[in-house]
């Protein structure tokens, strides 16, 4: 039988799954609920000045790239399976397409992080 390239995809899926399992819910809570509503955290936590400083900082760039990139790899990998499970006859080659989309998202993120300075 032909060797699968799944290990590459699975590693990315796993890394994203672990990261999102560890801090996903809290991140969503902070950026999507707490800060916009000023609940438990002040509204200016995500202010332009603070976010720009974070994105321009080396550590901040790594965090942003890791979060967006790995969440995309994990999510799109699983979305492939969701569609397959609905009955769509997507062959094994389609996994590369979904990961390709995640790679595009990651590259755009990297480009933006470089552009931000």
């Amino acid at each position: 039988m032909k060797r699968s390239n799944r290990p590459i995809f699975w590693s990315l899926f796993g890394a994203g799954g672990m990261l999102s399992a560890l801090v996903g819910p809290m991140l969503i809570f902070i950026t999507g609920v707490a800060v916009p509503l000023g609940f438990l955290l002040p509204r200016d936590t995500l202010s332009y000045e603070r976010m720009l400083a974070f994105a321009q900082n080396g550590f901040g760039k790594v965090v942003i790239l890791a979060v967006i990139g790995l969440f995309l790899f994990h999510g799109l990998h699983r979305i492939y399976h969701c569609l397959h499970e609905l009955g769509l006859r997507l062959g094994h080659g389609w996994m590369a397409v979904f990961h390709g989309l995640a790679a595009v998202g990651t590259l755009v993120t990297a480009y933006l992080l470089v552009a931000i300075g």
Partner: protein
Amino acid sequence: MKTYMRTMNGWWRRNPFYLWYTLREWSAFFLTAYALVLLFGLARLAQGEAQYEAWRASLATPAAVVFHVAAMLIVLYHAWTWFKVMHKTLPFVRIAGHRVPDGAIFAAGIVSSLVLSLLLLWGLA
């Protein structure tokens, strides 16, 4: 020899176990959407203050908050189930010859998540 093959249509509805599995898998749509929200915010950040502030204001709309609450809950379910099955991917873990129970591996994951999440919240407050 003539045989009969049954359909897989609607298989996920046939058993509560499959329904919960499908919910777990569909958390991916919300996680991907959230990543795209962040990516969009980053793009707005790169464009300038006015554009970024407009994006930030959109996060406070009822629709955005409802989406994020839903996303948070379903990603929480992903986290729970992730740690629940984590032991299946690991070889038997042994300490001093005794096998570490699967429940301990689950607990370690949950505790790690709680600690990191609370540190994140506390660090920003």
